[in-house]
């Protein structure tokens, strides 16, 4: 049976007041809601404050390199599609260092739930601009302010017809839990971009800043791509949260019929087939 206690409670290395503290229990609660037990779940993360999250619960974990969690997760999911694979990492990890993998994951529609702790900053390395940092923000690395346009992950994902695209706010953990639950339930790639205040390095996008702006659109049909595209462009005084787009493209693993017979490691070499292969070299 899956219980919240089963996922354990651990001391964290996050700052007091950090938005990460609310994402952690939301993830656990979503797993319980999905009736998943710790050993059925694999968390993959990169490097950053967000990426530490999987160390703070009980599950299988692969905490890899900065920016490279999606490929690791993709490999693991293909090797064993029975695993529920969740990637948890920061905005820098996923949209910066790992930008190319983000595009590829969307294109593959690999059945992974990607939870991005989007604090719009590089937290662990002490406050440089991330791809989502608002233009003009001054940091020690950008003393004249950020010159690049911020990356809009929701818009890019919707444009590319990603399987499941959602935004949530760490300050609304109930809604966050529900979105993660649905993301895990979705068969295909699920992007959940979670707005997360960083109390140490992002003094612009604070809890209050998000709180004031985030709203759940009253009537929004996530199957409607054009509507989703409109929502995806909203960012400023009002920021829509919730499941913004969804479709039912087949997940990547569905293309490999032999995967239905079980995880890759469970089958030894079929020597008869291999002999046939060898014979092709005569």
């Amino acid at each position: 049976m899956s219980t919240i206690e089963g996922y354990g409670i651990f001391e964290t290395a996050w700052c007091p007041g950090c938005g990460n503290h609310s994402i952690l229990p939301a993830v656990k609660q979503a797993l319980v809601a999905c009736e998943l037990e710790p050993h059925q779940v694999l968390f993959v993360s990169g490097i950053g404050q967000a990426a530490k999250a999987p160390h703070y619960l009980r599950a299988n974990v692969f905490n890899g390199l900065h920016g490279r969690s999606l490929p690791v997760a993709t490999g693991a999911k293909l090797a064993n599609p029975t695993l529920t694979v969740i990637v948890e990492s920061g905005d820098g990890c996923n949209y910066g260092e790992g930008g190319n993998h983000f595009l590829a994951a969307v294109r593959r529609n690999i059945d992974i739930t990607l939870v991005v702790h989007n604090n719009q900053i590089y937290g662990l390395t002490k406050g440089q601009a991330s791809p989502t940092t608002p233009g003009g923000l001054v940091t020690k690395a950008q003393p004249s302010g950020v010159f690049s346009e911020p990356f809009n992950p929701i818009a890019v994902a919707v444009t590319m017809h990603a399987g499941f695209v959602a935004r949530a706010f760490s300050g609304d953990p109930g809604h966050l839990t529900e979105v993660i639950r649905q993301g895990i339930g979705h068969k295909g790639f699920s992007l959940i971009d979670v707005l997360q205040p960083c109390v140490s390095f992002n003094k612009i996008n604070t809890f209050a800043w998000y709180k004031k702006r985030c709203y759940l659109p009253a009537s929004h049909d996530p199957a409607d791509w054009e509507a989703a595209m409109k929502r995806a462009q909203e960012w400023g005084e009002r920021i829509p949260i919730g499941i913004l787009y969804k479709n039912d493209r087949p997940p990547f693993d569905a293309h490999f019929s032999f995967l239905k017979e079980g995880p890759l490691f469970s089958r030894d070499v079929d020597k008869r087939s291999l002999q046939k292969v060898l014979d092709r070299f005569r």
Binding site: L65, G75, L78, F265, V277, F281
Partner: protein, 564 residues
């Protein structure tokens, strides 16, 4: 009296079926019982340029390397004649189109236009060659049949007709006893494969289940060979968005239990360096094939070199053990790839197969592998239950910890790229750090104990000892044989595993030799200095090649001390 050894070179622009014909002729030779050594030389372009497909073939199994002098030149254009006529031996033959302007007594004019319609020129060439060297027509037709009938029904019949016509024409019109092959010594039933195909087959037999790659010459054909069999073998071969993704995917798949492999060349491998370190830190089994080509940077993308040994040996930040296998033949490609999977599973980390363009593309006749006798290396659950308190990185005598696969039992498997405690969780405890460094490096001891000893061939305590590694094996072996025939006291010490080095396996042999010469396909002598680093033995004389072509017996002889 015919010949026991022939060197056949087919040359011309890319895109005119030269490689197809070369491979067909090579296959016909193998099926007829001959040995072959194929050398492919091509430009980095799809059409045009100047390429060669050279088949050295023999009635006996005594050829191991390419050679320069040509017995039979099959030019697909006049430029080929201009370039290679000088290499054609006395008694050799150039099978030129009758329109060809070059006049020479080695040129035999062929009415290709009359024999074959446009687009079938290459099949006519096959027919002529098969005929003049004395292959049976039925064998040539059968290879053609096997290649075309399944895929290209439409042209299959026409192909066979052209082949037959050309073969018959040559029977009647060409008499070239000097390039007719004697009957082969044995009526072997052998397979034909190049180094890269052998790597793919070795991996399949070892139980590879997940392969990821980004295309890069000369490694791509490994993955194409695997992809062709993927559905039948139930394995995944995924083209990644870049090399970084490729290695990280393979690490992920391996973590989840699938024996995994990546293959690339120098520039792509450069991008995998961080991932190598990840595999080492998380102790994830992984086989990495690096097929060398000349660098730096893009260099000569379709040529050969042995220039990345030091890179592969030191790739990855931080310190950790690894093994590097360097095959010298397709058979070794097969068995050493298997060995790499075995080491990866046993020692839980990244293991390397280091090959190069020459070997990658070099077709040979290979005795069939006895699959029944070959174990695979699919992870199985440890026979002993690790108990409730499973610790992925348990400290042990030999550094090897109990490896479980996530999702298979209730035991949680936790891996971290940060320094970690024995349960896999990140730590900043500096005492644990020290233990973990020692644990990881401790695995190197076991690897060193199982290092494959270098192969010594030749005279005991020789006057002249060649040291070599990887794909130069055959060239050195033939050189030694030739020198011995001329009465020299001579031997070779060939390394098929270049790391870890075990001085007990080589130092005595080195010090007991008169002159020691290291033969390497690079300019700086990477293996020679590695040997000095590890054994203290300094090799003073080096034979180096770095113009993009493989080391051959002739190129060794040229640089030999005392040769003019």
């Amino acid at each position: 009296m015919g010949k026991d050894i022939l060197n056949i070179v087919i040359g011309g622009p890319a895109g005119e079926g030269l490689v197809t014909v070369g491979a067909l002729l090579a296959r016909a030779l193998v099926r007829s019982g001959y040995a072959i050594v194929v050398t492919q030389s091509y430009h980095s372009r799809i059409r045009g340029g100047h390429n060669t497909f050279a088949i050295r073939t023999s009635t006996k199994d005594t050829i191991f390397a390419p050679q320069e002098p040509i017995d039979l030149l099959m030019p697909f254009d006049e430029h080929t004649i201009v370039l290679h006529a000088k290499d054609v031996v006395r008694g050799g033959v150039i099978l030129a189109d009758e329109a060809c302007a070059v006049a020479s007594d080695t040129v035999v004019k062929i009415p290709f236009k009359a024999l074959a319609a446009d687009g079938f020129f290459n099949i006519a060439a096959l027919g002529i060659m098969a005929s003049v060297i004395g292959l049976e027509k039925a064998v040539a037709v059968a290879t053609l049949h096997d290649l075309f009938d399944a895929k290209h029904h439409d042209v299959a019949a026409e192909n066979k007709a052209v082949l037959s016509r050309a073969y018959e024409w040559a029977q009647e019109n060409v008499s070239a006893e000097t390039i007719r092959l004697n009957a082969p010594e044995h009526a072997y039933s052998r397979l034909m494969m190049h180094g890269n195909e052998a790597i793919a087959l070795g991996a399949l037999s070892a139980g590879v289940k997940f392969c990821s790659f980004y295309p890069m010459t000369p490694a791509t054909s490994i993955m194409l060979a695997l992809a062709a069999q993927a559905n039948d073998m139930g394995i995944i071969v995924e083209q990644a968005e870049d090399e970084i993704a490729a290695i990280n995917m393979a690490v992920g798949a391996s973590f989840a239990g699938a024996p995994s492999m990546v293959a690339t060349s120098g520039g792509g491998f450069a991008l995998m360096v961080e991932g190598v370190s990840l595999a080492a830190m998380t102790e994830t089994p992984l086989v990495i094939v690096v097929a060398q080509r000349p660098g730096p940077a893009t260099g000569l993308p379709t040529r050969t070199e042995q220039g990345d040994l030091e890179l592969v040996l030191h790739a990855g930040h931080g310190e950790f053990p690894r093994a590097i296998y360097a095959p010298g033949t397709p058979e070794e490609c097969f068995y050493l790839t298997r060995r790499a999977f075995e080491s990866a599973q046993q020692f839980q980390g990244p293991m390397f197969v280091l090959t190069d363009q020459f070997l990658a593309d070099s077709y040979r006749a290979v005795l069939p592998f006895d699959l029944e006798k070959l174990p695979s290396f699919i992870p199985v659950l440890p026979s002993v239950d690790p108990g409730a308190d499973y610790r992925r990185y348990l400290l042990t005598e030999n550094g090897i910890s109990p490896r479980l696969v996530p999702g298979v039992s209730r035991h949680l498997v936790v891996a971290d790229s940060d320094e970690h405690t024995d349960d896999g969780h990140l730590t900043e405890d500096l005492c644990v750090r020290k233990q973990m460094v020692e644990k990881r490096l401790g695995k190197g001891e076991g690897m060193k104990e199982s290092t494959i000893p270098p192969e010594f061939i030749g005279d005991e305590n020789p006057d002249l000892l060649f040291v070599s590694w990887g794909s130069t094996k055959g060239a050195v072996r033939e050189t030694v044989a030739a020198l011995q025939q001329h009465g020299a006291s001579c031997a070779s010490l060939h390394f098929s595993q270049v790391w870890p080095l075990n001085e007990d396996q080589c130092l005595k042999i080195l010090t007991n030799a008169g002159e020691v010469v290291c033969v390497e396909g690079n300019a700086t002598g990477q293996f020679a200095r590695l040997l000095r680093r590890e054994t203290g033995f300094a090799i003073k004389k080096r034979i180096a090649r770095y113009d993009g072509l493989p080391i051959t017996p002739a190129s060794i002889m040229e640089q030999l001390p005392g040769s003019s």
